[in-house]
Amino acid sequence: MNTDTVIRIEDLTKVYRTEEVETHALSGVSLSVTRGEYVAIMGPSGCGKTTLMSILGLLDTPSGGQYDLAGKPVANLDAGARARFRNLNIGFVFQSFNLIGDLNVYENVELPLVYRGGVSRSERQSKVDAALENVGMSHRMRHYPAQLSGGQQQRVAAARALVGDPAILLADEPTGNLDSANGETIMELLAALNAKGATIVMVTHDPRYAAHAKRIVRLFDGQIVSENKSPAGIELRAGKGAAR
């Protein structure tokens, strides 16, 4: 395996079971993402994009298959270890921003460092300042989310995702709740972050925004059905499930 591989999933499956129905959300998905890459995952509603992102983000566990993040197998970690790994390695940008309304901008961005523990107040302050500077929101650090526009809130969310220097940034429909102007700004921000070295996996259903990525992975019925290889040389294979 390439030592620069940040994400490597092999034959990943996710099955939701109820008393009457068994739903295969993901069926044998395999994917690798290397450091500095910018991958867009596309597909229609219900194709398994969000499920894949949840598993990549250690918010959910796969039913089968293997998942290595930053070189370590993480598919079967317990809840506590997942939380710790998530905190150290993954940054999230959500469609609905998911800022905490009772915390101001600074406190929202600081939160991952607080949970990490062992980071001094001064170190936290310098990292938060840098992250907010990076997204152009330093001047609003004492504001509360309700006092910001949608685009500004998403920039704060991006700062929060980056503040802990994660191995990968996962963006789930980051423009879904924004108008086109603000959406475009956010996409430019992600592109700029990627240009500075951030590894990004983004879920989107909008081809215009997917075009910002260096590689596009398409999902359909829980399987990867196509890929656009980028010049950066990202390895992409169809999952075993797709071959059946």
Partner: protein
């Protein structure tokens, strides 16, 4: 109106589908309204409602106070008659004195409580008999035929409500009386334990001018219209000043002036209700705190319900419902629940009230009956309506805040409930914690105080002591004193001592915790004007100290041989020794129990021993009175011509390892052998006497602790409800935090920290409240500081534990939220 009815129908349908809310409201309200209905009924009945006599506001109690002694000293005959003759502010006046009597009728001999009265008492009160007549103006004259008026209770109990009782002959303390009347059922004067009324004989003694300070009976006066208690008191004071100035023994006038006597006149109610009024107010304060807590709890519940109905309420506003319409609907909903809670509260209140009345609210007797239902219905109705208003206004406030535009905007920017709403609800929880803390703190202080009172060193061994009273007719008759009385008491003592199981026995005129004890002044000999302390004279026998286990500290106790000695002996306790002589080294010193200025020749007692102090007054009373013990046999055999003290009622105290039930039949037989037909009464172990004396404090403590328990539970429920709601509103936030790497411990800590924050605020304010309210209750506390660290620590531990337990479940739920599920929450 149709709209409201239709709305209510829908409201009840929804409640039947999900009855939890309605049940919680009704149950909580039942507790709040029930407790307050009971205590407010008592408060109204005893302190506010008119007394059951015509123009009762004109009735006053006229009495002496003195700088030297505390409280209401009662009235003396001399001054009573002078006030009647010389004042113009009152239209009539009467007097009464309570007595223990043996009543002999066709049903045998029974012990009864009788009020010896002036005939004018009935006319002063303005009451009429149910049957027969009351006493005529000559009933109090010397030599008048014995007449008695029965209470409705005694008439029912002893005479089966037979109307032909009028004219029937009965015997009271060996004297013949004729029943002339029966009083109505609601006339229980001066208290509910009064069985009958008989005329006091106003002999020559009652008119002697030197009896100014012979206080002891109660005077009731009726003011003339337009006159006030103050004007009567001023006139009576002038009468007293004149009596002192013209005292027949001028040398005693300086002593009289030193006593610092004055005459007071206060509404009769305060005399009848006495200390009960203070406890009523304290209990009402506690129940009012409980009601406040109930309201805060329910306001929180109604706000939570309004929040869960956010979309419905917004829709109603969108569809054109104005504030008035919405308030009408909310008020109708609240009122429907409050009426049910009010009816249930009324029933609970009635049960509680009857229990309080049945148990005497911690006292032996209640002053007079209260109207149990009439006021209770009114109180419950008012509380239900006020509750409905409070709840609907709270709901309306939150509906007013539900702006549609704001609600639509909230979705993205906010991940938890409105900050304002949450703050208000958290504030309500803090208030509940404060109130619970105050109630629990006061309850803990009362309990700690009672515990200390139970462990007070009484100076005698109260265990294995059984006591009762025997009325020996003629004991108070001076002609009967001396050997004839001893001829009855000595065989009684011997018979009791021979009962199997009796280790020792004593007969005494007075024992500790005797409600009817009366003190006298004692004088050291040679006389010293500076020292004339009040003491309790105890006429007893050589067995007293052994029976009560009172240690003799110096000298000796009485012996049977003392009866043959001509000199009178006394044993005194340390308190009496110090107050009389300023030292405890007093064996051989002499004292007198008569005023040196008295006309009678003084009998001097030589102190032969000093014994340990005993608590004779109220347990825990700061100032205990000293005791002077006199050998009954010695005095009866040889000194009756000089002896001013007599007791018709004798206490018997028996030390025995047997239980009261096991030994009482044998003791009763022993009394019957020596005093045929004489009943014994007031049978109690010494433990019971102590317990009875502590009953008012225990009653108050029990009620406050009950309310405190309810308050803690309600506060815990309130905290749980608010935290559960808060967690449910913040699921998404917890998901985000989990996504950002918060582990379960951190999420658990987040919620528990919030609970701890509320708890700390509640405890800090609450503990300050305990100290503040503790001042109000300080008069009922014994050796417990207002900031009693034991009580405060207990409250801190109990409330902290309860609050954290109540908050643990929502906190645990928050920590188990799967991040993905939480992030999907909208």
């Amino acid at each position: 109106m149709n709209n409201i009815a239709q709305h209510l129908a829908g409201f009840f349908r929804s409640l039947f589908r999900k009855p939890g809310f309605a049940l919680a409201v009704i149950l909580t309200l039942t507790i709040g309204i029930g407790a307050n209905t009971a205590t407010l009924s008592l408060l109204y009945g005893y302190l506010l409602a008119p007394l059951p006599y015509p123009h009762a506001n004109q009735l006053v109690n006229v009495y002496f106070t003195a700088k030297k002694y505390s409280g209401n000293l009662g009235m003396s005959y001399t001054t009573y008659f002078d006030i009647r003759k010389q004042t113009t502010a009152m239209s009539d006046a009467g007097m009464y004195l309570m007595n223990n009597l043996n009543l002999v009728s066709g049903a045998g001999m029974v012990h009864v409580r009788g009020a010896t009265i002036s005939a004018s008492l009935f006319t002063t009160l303005g009451v009429r008999p149910l049957l027969g007549r009351v006493f005529g103006p000559d009933a109090n004259a010397v030599g008048a035929a014995g007449q008695v008026v029965l209470s409705y209770g005694l008439w029912s109990r002893l005479f089966n409500r037979n109307p032909s009782v009028i004219g029937q002959a009965i015997r009271l303390n060996d004297k013949a009386y004729t029943v002339v009347g029966v009083m109505p059922r609601n006339f229980e004067f001066p208290n509910t334990a009064t069985d009958l009324w008989l005329p006091q004989t106003f002999g020559p003694f009652t008119h002697e001018a030197d009896n100014v300070t012979a206080w002891g009976f109660t005077m009731v006066a009726r003011l003339k219209p337009g006159e006030t208690a103050a004007s009567l008191a001023a006139q009576a004071q002038a009468v007293l000043d004149n009596e002192v100035a013209h005292f027949p023994y001028p040398s005693a006038i300086p002593d009289l002036k030193k006593v610092g006597m004055s005459i007071q006149a206060t509404p009769l109610r305060s005399t009848l209700v006495g200390e009960l009024s203070q406890r009523l107010i304290l209990v009402q304060l506690a129940t009012a705190l409980l009601l406040l807590l109930v309201w805060f709890n329910l306001v929180n519940l109604f706000i939570a319900r309004a929040l869960t109905r956010r979309s419905e309420l917004i829709l109603r506003r969108v569809l054109g419902a104005g504030t008035r319409t919405l308030f009408g609907q909310l008020f109708a909903e609240s009122l429907a629940l409050c009426v049910i809670g009010g009816i249930a509260g009324l029933i609970l209140g009635e049960v509680l009230l009857r229990t309080l009345l049945h148990t005497g609210f911690g006292t032996a007797q209640l002053a007079f009956p209260v109207n149990e239902w009439g006021s209770a219905i009114g109180i419950a109705a008012v509380l239900a309506i006020v509750s409905a208003l409070v709840f609907s206004l709270a709901g309306l406030y939150f509906i007013r805040r539900q702006d549609l535009g704001q609600a639509l905007r909230e979705g993205d920017a906010r991940t938890s409930g409105g900050r304002g709403e949450h703050r208000i609800r958290a504030g309500l929880v803090v208030t509940q914690l404060v109130l619970a803390c105050i109630l629990a703190g006061i309850g803990a202080m009362l309990a700690h105080s009672l515990m200390k009172l139970n462990n007070v060193r009484l100076g005698f061994q109260r265990e294995q002591l059984i006591t009762f009273q025997v009325h020996v007719p003629g004991s108070a008759d001076e002609k009967y004193l001396g050997p004839p009385l001893e001829a009855k008491l000595a065989p009684l003592h011997r018979a009791l001592a021979q009962v199997p199981g009796v280790e020792s026995v004593t007969l005494a005129s007075d024992i500790p915790f005797d409600d009817e004890s009366s003190g006298v002044s004692a004088y050291p000999y040679p006389y010293d004007e500076k020292h004339s302390p009040g003491v309790f004279p105890v006429i007893t026998d050589p067995g007293y100290f052994k029976t009560f286990g009172i240690p003799v500290l110096s000298g000796r106790g009485f012996t049977p041989q003392d009866a043959q000695v001509l000199e009178a002996y006394a044993v005194i306790d340390v308190k009496a020794a110090e107050s009389l002589f300023g030292t405890t080294n007093v064996v051989g010193r002499q004292l007198s129990l008569n005023n040196p200025n008295n006309t009678k020749p003084n009998l001097l007692y030589r102190v032969i021993g000093v014994v340990a102090n005993t608590h004779r007054d109220k347990v825990g009373s700061a100032e205990q009175t000293g005791s002077v013990y006199i050998d009954r046999e010695q005095v009866l055999q040889t000194k009756t011509q000089n002896w001013s003290f007599a007791a018709e009622t004798w206490y018997v105290a028996v030390r025995t390892p047997l239980s009261t039930g096991a030994i009482l039949p044998a003791l009763t037989r022993a009394v019957a052998q020596t005093l045929p037909g004489i009943p014994i009464y007031n049978v109690r172990s010494m433990d019971q006497r102590l317990s009875n004396q502590l009953a008012p404090r225990r009653g108050l403590m029990t009620l406050v602790l009950m309310f405190a328990l309810g308050a803690i539970l309600l506060a815990a429920v309130g905290l749980y409800a608010v935290q559960s709601y808060s967690v449910s509103q913040r699921l998404r936030e917890f998901g985000i935090r989990a996504a950002l790497g918060a582990d379960r411990g951190q999420l658990l800590g987040l919620v528990l920290r919030e609970i701890a924050r509320l708890l700390v605020i509640g405890l800090v304010v609450g503990l300050v409240g305990v100290v503040v309210f503790g001042h109000v209750f300080s008069s009922t506390l014994y050796n417990v500081n207002m900031a009693d660290p034991v009580s405060l620590f207990l409250v801190f531990v109990i409330l902290s534990f309860t609050a954290l337990a109540a908050g643990w479940i929502p906190a645990w739920r928050a920590s188990r939220v799967p991040p993905m599920e939480a992030l999907r929450e909208r």
